[in-house]
Symmetry: C2
Subunit: 460 residues, 2 copies
């Protein structure tokens, strides 16, 4: 269904210093198969839940029912969430309703999705000004139920709704997504808020981290409210899941990319991967991928820095560096079939820059530029590969996201790291708590004071 072209990762094309040999691939077939088996065991034991998400028919039905009941009531869906709680919804909205700022006219039958994923007051203020609270549904999403940014933003949005619709109507304007109550009866703060004000709540399984949650209510709820067919989305992901459990390298769409990216990262030391989307529709997916790749693999001094790039646009911004700068990157092109028909009109045919274009398909130019860029990269010994989606629709987008989650899981196995934690972010969180005067973080306030002293001394 989704094709993977890896010829330009091979040593035959880009040289032995920067490419992988067929022999090297063959030598690692067993390691690749072991990665699948090992991850499958962990998934079946219940440790990691993302492979099961698209099979949760009951959850999918509940989300669809809720969205159907909301239909026509709201012209804005205001998502309060950050990181994994926001990026999946943006990826789906951009892919399946088109990129901002060129979406179709919004209204009650086609509500706008406004994502509040930052606490910049300039941004939050402008975002609230752009919505009518009486016709807004707020979705508050945080797995832990206590993320500082999402809680503070939700408090603002809640007060804004209160003022417009009255405190007693708040439950008609809010839905929450968070972890379920634990077997011991522990309830997240967000769930406590939902219960106190009788707001509907949806759940993210405890064994699914934010960046793997797009096919849980975290991504499905905003998608369904935006009118996206989440059944097709999950159907694509289910079909992909079946393929991704295969242990043969050539039958598993996520395994060969994982093996090759692993070899390039760890044996050819390419510290950067460019996700080069030749599709404006997949631009949101590139940012979703950026989190998936960075947080999952970037730990213990290892990992690979993902860069989101847009073709052809970035040919006029980044390709000078990509072709002629340090050879420290692997490029992964994303392209899709099923382009909208559009002809370049014939006009000014006597002018050299217009004559050859008139009468040709715009899609042909788009495609030629991608192929030319891949060829130029190969000629300059820059390894690159290409994923091709038959088209950008719910089925194939669901499949593609699931493919990438599996690829990351396999990368984690091959690298021998835990791709599912993110221990590095704790320090910054604690320092923030200290600076905001939260109780119990005095030690971090002292740390911060020492650091400020050191800074003043260093500057003389």
């Amino acid at each position: 269904m989704i094709q993977f072209d890896y010829a330009n990762l091979l040593a035959d094309l880009v040289g032995a210093e920067h490419g992988v040999s067929r022999a090297e691939i063959d030598q690692n077939r067993a390691a690749a198969a072991r990665a699948v088996e090992s991850f499958r065991k962990k998934s079946e034991s219940g440790r990691y839940g993302f492979p099961h998400l698209p099979f949760q028919e009951k959850v999918i039905d509940e989300v669809r029912k809720f969205a159907a009941a909301c239909k026509g009531r709201f012209d804005s869906i205001c998502l309060v969430g950050i990181g994994g709680s926001a990026l999946g919804a943006w990826a789906l909205d951009c892919a399946l309703r088109g990129p901002h700022p060129v979406q179709k006219e919004f209204g009650r039958m086609n509500p706008r999705l406004v994502i509040l994923d930052n606490v910049d007051p300039a941004f939050l203020g402008a975002a609230l000004d752009s919505m009518n609270p009486k016709r807004t549904l707020a979705l508050a999403i945080t797995k832990s139920g206590s993320t500082a940014e999402s809680i503070s933003t939700y408090l603002v949005v809640r007060a804004w709704l209160h003022k417009a619709v009255g405190a007693k109507n708040i439950a008609r304007h809010v839905a929450m997504v968070t972890e379920p109550e634990s077997p011991e009866g522990k309830v997240s703060d967000l769930l406590a808020m939902a219960r106190r004000e009788s707001c509907p709540a949806f759940y993210l399984p405890v064994n699914v981290g934010g960046r793997f949650s797009v096919l849980s209510p975290v991504g499905l709820l905003p998608a369904a409210l935006a009118g996206i067919d989440i059944r097709k989305l999950c159907a694509g992901a289910r079909d992909m899941t079946h393929l991704c459990w295969k242990t043969e390298l050539d039958a598993n769409p996520a395994l060969l990319p994982a093996l090759l990216h692993w070899l390039l990262l760890e044996r050819r030391s390419k510290p950067i991967q460019v996700a080069f989307s030749y599709s404006n529709l997949l631009w949101g997916v590139a940012f979703w991928f950026r989190q998936l790749w960075a947080e999952s693999l970037g730990k213990n001094g290892r990992g690979q820095t993902p860069v989101a790039a847009l073709g052809v646009t970035d040919q006029h911004s980044q390709v000078q560096l990509y072709l002629d700068g340090p050879n420290d990157k692997v490029f992964t092109f994303w392209t899709a079939g099923g382009a909208r028909a559009m002809k370049i009109p014939r006009a000014f045919s006597d002018l050299a820059s217009a004559g050859y274009l008139g009468g040709q398909a715009m899609g042909a130019l788009f495609d030629a530029e991608r192929r030319a860029t891949a060829a130029a990269l190969a000629q300059k010994q820059r390894p690159n590969c290409t994923f091709t989606l038959p088209r950008v629709d719910a089925y194939h987008v669901g499949a593609f996201l699931q493919l990438m989650e599996f690829e990351v899981a396999f990368m984690g196995e091959l690298m021998g790291i835990d791709a599912f934690d993110q221990p590095g972010v704790e320090l910054g969180k604690r320092l923030t708590y200290a600076l905001m005067g939260r109780k119990g973080f005095d030690e971090y306030q002292r740390q911060f004071d020492d650091y400020e002293k050191l800074r003043r001394r260093a500057l003389g």
Copy 2:
């Protein structure tokens, strides 16, 4: 006016392996002064023109007059351009009117800026569907006047306008920006189109490349049409220009950043720079910067890969990698004062995650998170620095853009490279021409055929 905090780039804070010593800075004061002098000579000789742009009062007036004459006639400004012809306009619009998708309601007195900077038919089709040609002004912008993407897109936009307003009214709906006629009478294809159809034309000086053109009509014309005060923009840039000609390290706002970034790139081998904007308003500027840095410095196997990141958002996406992955980056935070007042309401005060936030300013949280992230990076020996704008307004944005252009010019001098060319992109262009059947590129078609043969053979 714009502050630069570099304490966290110093060895005292991040260690000698990753930071710069005061002695090293002192040793390079003379080299830094020479960089200014050398670049000043080239600029005064007329080789490079960007420092002069904000002083071109006549051009600024012409642009303002044109914008005033357009006032109220259009609800969409449709910019056809790519790379340096588009990124400056986006940067200015995002900074000074707010980021998509939360801008104020658009209309004839506040026209939308739609930037057609890609030839993806799905994107172009949706963009055209979202505009009314009768109320649209198209700006076609290409320095060479023959960029394939912009010419093909302009042909589509022109036909779309023709159909709605009639061929004879086209001049009322189109303006062009391109190179002026050469002293030898050579006219770019875009200028030829403008003349044949009597469309107004504005000019980009020949000694200003696309990525340095934001303060020429390339950026000023769309900005003025969007209602931005381009006189204040240029006033900020002028004041910055005067400062940037100073040869003393501590008096020149662009010189110390250039020296430090150069030392970190070439003596501490940091192949990646993260432009970490703690401002949604400056998100467009981050993409403008990404081109400026990549194309100017990425050549001959050298350069530094710029990454655009948004705070606090990317704390929940990239910071795990930044703190715990490879120590291969230098971080440049951007922050701004003058935040909109917004209080986090008190509610659910008994819940641990909400209690400490209620009653505090949202801006305080935003700021605390940035400072905590900088401190955490320093503690993990990751060099970082911070630019602070007093506020995000036309004056300071103009100054900041000019500062970064000077910084890049000085980096070029320190590195001993030409920061103003982009020879690497030619190969991809020629291969594209060949694939599109343009005459005179048979040699590249043969090259492409050989490459395809090699690919097939490599895949077996």
